[in-house]
């Protein structure tokens, strides 16, 4: 893992750079004084979104799940501003979900229940057959572990007093 980190264009380094940038942006206006739980919660949401977004951008839309994540983030941000967009977004997700279920039945997946659960977990997994779903899951797991490592080290760094 350490040898991987030496590569400046590795997934980890890309994610780290982006995430730290986002973090500084989020934390910039904040004062050192303790914040209300509400503010903390808002910041938590923003950081979480920043983490997902930076990871998805590091993957660049080479993967279905990253594209789905980015699309989801964009539609959600739009839906917050306009209610009509929100309805459209929900309709879209519903159609993709139903389409995914049709695919599942058509392919006769033996492990239908678990596959469906996995589809819900992996972003964009609704419209994938089991074969691609497993591919995406593998890559998604790899990216998630990277994300967790980087965030943990940053958190440790911040919490050192």
């Amino acid at each position: 893992m350490d040898l991987q980190n030496l590569n400046p264009s590795s997934l980890k380094s890309r994610f780290t750079a982006r995430f730290l940038r986002a973090l500084t942006e989020i934390n910039a206006p904040k004062t050192i004084s303790s914040s209300s739980p509400r503010e903390i919660f808002q910041r938590y949401r923003r950081i979480k979104v920043a983490a997902d977004k930076s990871m998805a951008y590091s993957v660049r839309s080479r993967r279905i799940w990253s594209r789905a994540t980015l699309w989801r983030l964009r539609t959600r941000s739009r839906s917050r501003r306009l209610v009509s967009f929100g309805r459209r977004a929900s309709v879209k997700t519903r159609t993709t979900a139903s389409h995914g279920k049709e695919n599942k039945e058509h392919h006769g997946a033996v492990l239908g229940v678990q596959a469906e659960e996995l589809r819900e977990l992996v972003p964009g997994g609704e419209a994938m057959d089991l074969c691609n779903l497993l591919d995406e899951t593998a890559h998604y797991i790899k990216c998630l572990t990277t994300q967790v490592q980087v965030m943990r080290t940053i958190a440790n760094l911040y919490s050192i007093e």
Binding site: S13, A17, Y44, K48, L134, A138, L144, R152, S159
Partner: protein, 487 residues
């Protein structure tokens, strides 16, 4: 049709009578053999009878074409017919060919019926047709293509009877042309859209290529061919040797026979497929069968041979391959067997990772940033170079001897504050620490001095205070050191 008849009349005029008689003799032999093959279920007898037939065929093929008549259109048509017949028979065996080839036969049967009525003469005049007819009869007596028996066998007899009277010299031309064109077509690429003749010869190519790609399936699939030509298979390779065109097929048949001879050993390898299991037991209990499997075997014995089941099998293998890869990725899944349990583990792991991300983001939100550092500037490539060396340094600060224990409370505090259930957090914090520990121990042992240096830096930072108050230079150095350690 008029063109064909006119053409044949022209050929009749051109050819010598001796050729005619010789060809008729061959055709008589062919019909005789065909009749024997149709009626005689015992292939051993037919083997002896077929030898003169083969020699006749070979002589026919080798005889130079006396008159090179432009027969392109007609030959193509005849070869199409023969190719379609070949497809029908082969698909009747139901195991041999790849998916796309299974579709045409249904259509071809009707086509053959139509064509039989109209163009029996040219149809039968081709020596390659006679040679194929023997093969078809082999397949038909195997019982797989019952539908084949009715119309085509009648057409064979009719056409054979008729061909005796009609130009036999055409056979020479056709055989020569057929030999050349077939070899040409075989050399050209395999494409489904091309003529069925091409497809038939290309099928064998495709088979071999596919069988190379999926070598594991060969053993299983060869069992399929065993059952069909019960004892008649020996006849099949021998007429193949007769024709030059079939020589290449013979090579393939030899290769496939050798592949199939691995099948008895492959029989023991029970694939985890419900379809093949019961059939495998049947296969093993069969009496010793002569080596006859010469067509590539992708569909397994007893399994439906339509395109869907073949594709299903390929899909299943892909999925199992990916499951194995995931098994390596997810820690602690080596003992787990079975797709369902494996998927459960994967789901749990993905859920835990997602929750960890949420939790860490929450932690980052609550923790006040002590250092208002321009991390981006620091995270340059130079920093990244020194990552690996100092990565361990961060851990001693948390709690040097009892790293897991020390880490716990830090994480435990925040969830309580924010209402996140504590149990789940501790679970995967334990997990992640479990993952981390082996690497940490190694590093700490390796570079103790660096850790101490880092500790000194931190202590100095604490004294100085974080944030904007720090002098830029000092802050830069400290941050550099910290970043180095972190990365």
């Amino acid at each position: 049709m008029e063109k064909d008849e006119a053409f044949m009349a022209e050929v009749l005029n051109r050819t010598a009578s001796r050729q005619l008689t010789w060809n008729t003799e061959v055709l008589n032999c062919a019909t005789e053999k065909l009749g024997n093959h149709f009626l005689n279920p015992n292939w051993d007898n037919s083997m002896d009878q077929s030898d003169p037939f083969e020699s006749a065929l070979s002589s026919m093929v080798s005889s130079p074409a006396a008159s090179k008549v432009p027969v392109s259109g007609e030959n193509v048509m005849m070869r199409e017919l023969i190719g379609k017949l070949g497809n029908i028979c082969n698909s009747g065996d139901a195991s041999c060919y790849s998916t796309p080839l299974n579709s045409p036969p249904r259509f071809d049967l009707s086509m053959v019926n139509l064509l039989n009525h109209s163009t029996l003469v040219p149809f039968s005049a081709d020596p390659g047709f006679a040679e194929r007819a023997t093969r078809f009869s082999c397949f038909s007596t195997g019982g797989d293509s019952g539908c084949f028996n009715g119309p085509l066998m009648d057409s064979f007899k009719l056409s054979c009877n008729q061909s005796i009277n009609v130009n036999g010299s055409q056979n020479n031309k056709n055989s020569a042309m057929a030999g050349n064109s077939d070899s040409d077509k075989k050399n050209s690429g395999v494409s489904r859209s091309s003529s069925p003749e091409n497809a038939e010869s290309g099928v064998s190519k495709e088979e071999s290529s596919v069988s190379q790609q999926i070598p594991s399936q060969n053993d299983a699939g060869t069992r399929k061919r065993k059952s069909i030509p019960r004892g008649k298979a020996k006849e099949i390779p021998s007429p193949a040797a007769a024709d030059a065109k079939v020589a290449s097929e013979n090579d393939e048949s030899n290769s496939k026979r050798s592949k199939r001879e691995g099948a008895p050993s492959g029989n023991g390898n029970a694939k985890a497929s419900n379809d093949g299991n019961q059939k495998q037991s049947k296969e093993n209990s069969k009496p010793p069968e002569p080596p006859k499997d010469y067509i590539h075997v992708r569909a397994r014995r007893g399994e439906a041979t339509d395109s869907h089941s073949l594709a299903e099998r390929v899909r299943r293998e892909k999925i199992s391959e990916r499951m194995k890869f995931l098994q390596d990725l997810v820690p602690g899944c080596n003992k787990v067997t079975g797709k369902a349990v494996m998927l459960d583990e994967i789901i749990n792991y993905v859920q835990s990772l997602q929750r960890q991300v949420e939790f860490l983001s929450m932690k980052l939100a609550t923790v006040n940033p002590r250092m208002d550092v321009n991390m981006e500037a620091l995270l340059s490539k130079d920093m990244f170079q020194s990552r690996g060396v100092l990565q361990h340094g961060i851990y001693p600060m948390d709690s040097s001897p009892a790293f897991p224990c020390g880490y716990h409370p830090q994480q435990g505090l925040l969830p309580l504050n924010n209402g996140i259930p504590n149990t789940t957090e501790t679970q995967f914090s334990m997990k992640t620490q479990g993952f981390k520990l082996p690497s940490i121990d190694g590093f700490i042992d390796a570079h103790p001095q660096v850790g101490s240096m880092w500790e000194d830096d931190i202590q100095s930072i604490v004294q100085m205070g974080f944030g904007q108050n720090q002098p830029q230079s000092y802050q830069g150095s400290i941050s550099t050191g910290q970043v180095k350690i972190e990365l």
